[in-house]
């Protein structure tokens, strides 16, 4: 079963890195789309209907948590993995309250494929 992922990060290098890691992992993982900001993320989410979303938190303007709240308000079962360079206990707790499935620090980028397999539709 494929796992179509939407990558949301304002840093183009990060998007490129995540795409490379996901594509290299293969095993049913697929990058459905990328978005560099909140508005684009919502638009792509509605357009491609991804199985999972890898969502940066710290983005200029709207934060990842705010984007997640909007998405989960419309589709509570949507799998979202928060991928942030700056994770602390407060952010992890708030992410859990919002309904985000997992939080991964950016320095643990190679954990992304495992998280997608674990929380994706095949899980």
């Amino acid at each position: 079963m494929s796992n179509r992922t939407l990558i949301v990060d304002d840093d183009e290098d990060m998007r490129f890195l995540l795409r490379a890691i996901i594509e290299r992992a293969n095993e049913g993982l697929e990058v459905a789309a990328e978005a560099g900001g909140a508005d684009e993320a919502l638009a792509q989410w509605r357009a491609v209907q991804p199985d999972t979303i890898v969502l940066d938190h710290r983005m200029p303007g709207t934060t990842g948590l705010q984007v997640a709240e909007q998405i989960l308000a419309e589709r509570p079962e949507q799998t979202i993995i928060l991928f942030s360079a700056y994770l602390d206990d407060e952010l992890i707790a708030r992410a859990g309250e919002v309904g985000i499935r997992a939080c991964i620090s950016k320095d643990r980028y190679d954990d992304i494929p495992d998280a997608l397999w674990r929380y994706g539709p095949a899980a």
């Binding site: 890195l17 490379a20 890691i21 290299r24 710290r58 200029p60 303007g61 360079a85």
Partner: protein, 640 residues
């Protein structure tokens, strides 16, 4: 208030007067008892006196009769006798002439009731007394009679031719009689009240007495007369009068003294009450002034209560600012021209404001003192409130600064980790999947590693510079340099900062400047990084170097939205970030321009911000061309 006091004193005076009257009555009663006793004693004395008077007159008449053998004898002896007894108003010598008793001589001639030649025996009212004299040879006091409108008492003494004869011969030897006429009024005139002498037959001398009478029976020439003495009407005794007058005067005096004392005490009480009220007002105002540190609450509450408590027409409060200017911050009531009282508001010796009151009436000294005391309390409260406001503002600034620092740390951490993740991630991919990647892919990843490393270096440089700035350890070493050459050499190192922007470098061959190449690099790097962040991808960033007067000018212009004029000075503050949509969408720690400003300041350069031709921001840095005292220069100027 004064009329009430007078009423009180008058009432008290009346009470005292009543007391005095009562005392006088008591004294008078006591005096009456004593006087009754004295009256009885006096009545007895008076009765004795009356008896003595009559008896004396009878004795005198008898003596005169004894020596008056004839009319001539009587004429010679009688006049002195008239003077001897005051009560005897007339004397007469009468001779028996057959059945008649004819008055031969009467003295005084015209004053007596008896007339010469008159036969006394024909007067019935004299019958008794004369009969006893001429028939019984006995001296007798007769019945009181009225002669010529005068009440008199007749005494008749027989004239004997043989005074030493025996009883029967005596009666036969009567030749006449000496008649003494006593004035009834004179007999009784020594008694202060009414006195009445009543003969045994009921005839009387003296007025009919009324009231209490003292009755004495006195023997006059062997006949029982009754003397009625009227007790004088009761009157105030002298002691009672003294008590009454003295008491009344004392009462008036006491009333006046008490009134005076009461007035003084009332005045003292009213003064104390006023002072108490004033102290209460001060205490209440002090409490009110402690209830808030917010001037917008505190001043209206204070001013309104002050106007009410002191019945003031208007109250205005002005604050003294740091420039010594008074600014009215609150007023209440209607101000009228003139008559305003200005009370300086001081804390210690420092003036903090002015309290201006419009009194609706005349204020006394104590009220003015109270108002000044309240003004002092207000000054303290105002100072505290201002201090509190400054503390609050300072605390807010510190909170803002703390929030900015937290945001800064978060941003820096994020930027560091993101760049590091990119470097490590792409390096790992290259290492692990080298054989599966084509050259293009490898090159792209290598470029990304290089770009992230460049960003990382720029960020680390900024952080180090910022740390030096914070510790005042940032140093520049200006020297003679070719600004155009330095910029040209550095331009390649800036490529990681450009992103998807094009850099257009325009320089003269050589532009002499007095600057530190490191400072030039840091200024240039920050300006280019800034331009790349805030201008759209694909636009051009222009860097130019040219001589401009006595300066060497470096210009970095972009094609972004530009910087609002109001923000052009503030953007150089550390941690400050614009609130524009472009800025919100852009990452940044907010320290780049602060570092730039410090480098420019230490280099003696000035930085100007204005609009680039065609829009966008244009930063102009003018480096000096000669050594200069950098301490006096203002590094940042705002272009228009």
């Amino acid at each position: 208030m004064t009329s009430r006091r007078w009423l009180g004193a008058a009432g008290l005076g009346l009470l005292l007067v009543a007391g005095a009257v009562f005392s006088a009555v008591v004294v008078a009663n006591a005096a009456d008892s004593a006087r009754s006793a004295r009256f009885r004693e006096a009545a007895s004395i008076e009765a004795e006196r009356v008896r003595n008077v009559v008896e004396l007159a009878a004795t005198e008449a008898e003596r005169l009769a004894a020596i008056s053998r004839s009319r001539a004898d009587f004429g010679a002896a009688a006049p002195p006798r008239l003077d001897h007894v005051d009560e005897v108003v007339a004397l007469a010598y009468a001779e028996l002439d057959g059945p008649r008793l004819v008055v031969r001589t009467a003295l005084p001639r015209n004053a007596g009731p008896l007339s010469t030649g008159e036969d006394l025996l024909v007067r019935p009212e004299l019958e008794l007394v004369l009969t006893r004299a001429v028939t019984e040879a006995d001296t007798s006091a007769g019945t009181p009679i009225e002669i010529e409108g005068r009440e008199v008492l007749i005494i008749a003494a027989p004239v004997l031719s043989d005074p030493l004869a025996a009883e029967a011969a005596r009666r036969a030897s009567v030749t006449g009689a000496v008649i003494a006429v006593l004035d009834g009024a004179r007999i009784l005139d020594e008694w202060p009240g009414a006195a009445r002498l009543v003969a045994p037959d009921g005839r009387a001398i003296g007025p009919q007495a009324a009231g209490d009478l003292h009755r004495s029976v006195i023997d006059l020439t062997g006949r029982p007369f009754e003397l009625l003495l009227d007790e004088p009407a009761l009157g105030w005794s002298d002691s009672a009068r003294l008590v009454l007058v003295g008491g009344t005067l004392s009462a008036i005096l006491v009333a006046i003294v008490l009134f005076h004392q009461t007035t003084r005490r009332r005045e003292a009480e009213e003064h104390a009450e006023q002072r108490s009220q004033q102290l209460t007002r001060i205490a209440e105002a002090g409490a009110r002034l402690q209830q808030s540190l917010d001037l917008s609450e505190l001043l209206p509450a204070f001013a309104v209560s002050l106007a009410n408590d002191f019945e003031l027409r208007s109250v205005a409060i002005a604050l003294l600012d740091d420039d010594g200017m008074l600014t009215e911050v609150f007023s209440t009531g209607e101000r009228a021209p003139g008559g305003a009282i200005e009370l300086p508001l001081r804390r210690g010796w420092r003036a903090v404001g002015l309290l201006t009151i419009g009194p609706g009436r005349e204020l006394d000294e104590a009220e003015l003192t109270s108002l000044q005391a309240l003004g002092d309390l207000l000054a303290v409260a105002m100072s505290n409130a201002q201090l509190y406001e400054r503390e609050q503002a300072s605390a807010a600034r510190l909170r803002d600064l703390d929030a900015l620092k937290n945001a800064f740390l978060g941003t820096v951490s994020h930027e560091l980790r993101t760049s590091m993740t990119a470097i490590m991630g792409f390096g790992e991919l290259l290492s692990d999947a080298w054989d599966t990647l084509d050259d293009t892919r490898r090159r792209e990843m290598a470029n990304r590693i290089r770009r992230s490393a460049g960003s990382l270096r720029h960020l680390v440089d900024d952080l180090l510079d910022f740390a030096r700035l914070e510790q005042e350890r940032l140093r520049v070493s200006p020297r003679r340099v070719d600004l155009a050459g330095v910029v040209r050499q550095m331009i390649d190192t800036l490529s990681p900062l450009l992103g998807r922007h094009t850099l257009d470098l325009r320089t003269d061959d050589a532009v002499s400047a007095w600057a530190d190449p490191i400072a030039i690099e840091r200024i240039l790097a920050n300006l280019v990084s800034n331009a790349a962040k805030y201008s759209p991808d694909g636009t051009t960033i222009t860097v130019s170097v040219e001589p401009r007067g006595s300066a060497a000018r470096l210009v970095v212009a972009d094609q972004g939205p530009g910087i609002p004029a109001a923000e052009r000075r503030r953007i150089f503050a550390r941690f400050y970030r614009l609130d524009t949509p472009e800025a919100v969408r852009t990452r940044g720690a907010g320290i780049g321009l602060a570092i730039l400003r410090d480098f420019a300041e230490r280099s003696g350069a000035t930085v100007t911000v204005d609009d680039a031709p065609g829009g966008g921001a244009r930063f102009v840095v003018d480096f000096p061309t000669e050594p200069m005292d950098v301490g006096s220069a203002e590094a940042v100027a705002v272009g228009t």
